[in-house]
Symmetry: C2
Subunit: 321 residues, 2 copies
């Protein structure tokens, strides 16, 4: 929840004049997204989202993200479509920051996750993976194994301030994942951050997927494992196997999992839990006082990590191979 | 800048079903307004603003504010129009808070104030005062003399932590204003908070006035004095007499000032400066750590207060009587 940059109206007018969108009618900073500044922009041509990229997104990665959204939208995925200015270029500058206007998507993200939402997520994620198969660009996942090691080393000395024994537990988990992590599963473009606030529904139907700014090239099944973490636990930490079964079944109905992918699910889910545990832990320990973003609890993911470590078979997620 | 309350989608759907607005298409928390939670709401019937009133606004005052907006909108003032539900009632409840849907206003507030904006403000403020003359309800201004005294007493002991000598300077200013404050100037409904972020422009034309949640019954010229403070100083503290002249002349062209109002302007402007100085000082001293709202500098208003105290004649504001 944050708007970091306030855009002066005369600068905005000049910026919009480069597009064929008519005049600005209104522009409101919206309280969603913690990485960038987002504005709901209304012009004579319609409603759009204006994003200014703040420092946490690397400018070098932006062409990948923009091209990916263009590709997916062209393949019929309901995702933001970058709007090109009159010169044909979508990625521009505003207030000394990289900026892009994308189409506005209808719908609301589910504040309370019901099983039907998880079915929608599985289906939408599989369609995303299928549509991404023909996308030519690649971007390594900087938040996979090597990234986890770097984050861990940056947090290690103070991890026990958050919870006694945390540094040791994370260290041995990381050692295990480095030893066991698969080398050869089907790869492709993954969203890598498909949490409830990144997918819109109208009623029970998925109406859009947003926020592709962690997208990268990695194991497709790892994306599904991230969703198991993000969607299938209740707020008391319990695992809702009904939600997981619906998610996996809906995914497989569109894109079948290979036997190797299926049996790797518990391990991939441990990795997904560790990834969010470590980024949250890092943010927790490095949270500037007075920052406008609320810290998320890293220990929520310790509980999830332990659950996945306790899983003997992927059938614990509700489905047989 | 804040959204305090996150509205679950199923609660929102139930709430909207009470209106004749069709289905919800989207609902985004917007990063404007520090007192309430505001959402840009799109339904099949159009675009609206949904406001949830947080604790700083007294529920007892809400019927006054709602009725005022209805009255002004009916008089042709471009202000938010409360939308009634099917039962004819505009003021409702959502997430255990008073809530209202109002019409959405086009335009943007000026991040950089140019003289032409000040002319627009003067004109719009005068039209607001004229339209308010036929409004029957009254609400005393709880942020006038008696309120300043209360705020001062609450801040006095720690005021010098902000600036040495501040408590004494504010104390003698308050004594002077209590002695000199006018008793009989033309009264009516005033906005009382017409800062740049509360007035929208499209190009050079005022397209809307928002945020009536400080509106009350007080001297009309005091509202103009608040605007002199809010619009006519540069960021270095200097007073821009061109802006003041345009504002006053545009106001007078719609609603002439009486000689008593005109000569009271420097005193009213001191009062306006003291009012914002004291509320900012109070917030500064009582700012909860980690709050999502940035504190505004109270000393900006000390400089303005001193300017108005140095003014011998209202002609210092650029106009003769």
């Amino acid at each position: 929840m944050a708007v970091y940059t306030d855009v002066p109206d005369d600068e905005l007018r000049g910026f919009i004049a480069e597009y064929a969108l008519g005049e600005v009618i209104s522009c409101k900073g919206i309280a969603e997204g913690v990485e960038n500044s987002n504005f709901l922009l209304r012009t004579e041509a319609g409603t759009f989202l204006l994003t200014l990229f703040e420092k946490r997104v690397s400018p070098m990665d932006l062409p990948f993200f923009i091209a990916l959204m263009e590709h997916l939208a062209a393949q019929g995925i309901a995702c933001p479509t970058p709007i090109k200015a009159k010169d044909g270029i979508a990625l521009r500058q505003l207030c000394s920051r990289p900026a892009v206007i994308v189409s506005f998507l209808d719908g609301m993200w589910p504040r309370r996750v019901h099983p039907v939402h998880c079915a929608g997520v599985g289906d939408a994620l599989a369609r995303l993976h299928v549509a991404g198969a023909s996308f030519a660009l690649r971007r390594p996942n900087d938040l996979s194994l090597a990234g986890w090691r770097r984050l861990y080393e940056a947090c290690r000395a103070r991890a026990d301030d958050v919870k006694g024994g945390l540094a040791a537990e994370l260290g041995s988990e990381l050692d295990a994942l480095e030893r066991l992590w698969p080398e050869t599963l089907p790869m492709g473009v993954i969203h890598a951050d498909l949490f409830p606030d990144n997918i819109f529904f109208r009623g029970e139907r998925v109406s859009g997927i947003i926020d592709f700014y962690f997208a990268c090239t990695d194991f497709l099944a790892y994306d599904l494992a991230i969703c198991l973490n993000a969607w299938c636990f209740e707020s008391d930490g319990s695992f809702n196997v009904t939600k997981a079964r619906l998610m996996l079944a809906s995914y497989r109905a569109v894109r079948p999992l290979t036997p190797e992918e299926f049996s790797a699910l518990p391990l991939l889910a441990r990795g997904g839990a560790l990834r969010f545990l470590l980024t949250r832990l890092y943010d927790w320990l490095n949270h500037p006082p007075g920052a406008l973003v609320r810290r998320k609890d890293p220990l929520e993911y310790l509980q999830k990590l332990r659950f996945h470590r306790s899983v003997a078979q992927p059938s614990a997620y509700g489905l047989d191979a």
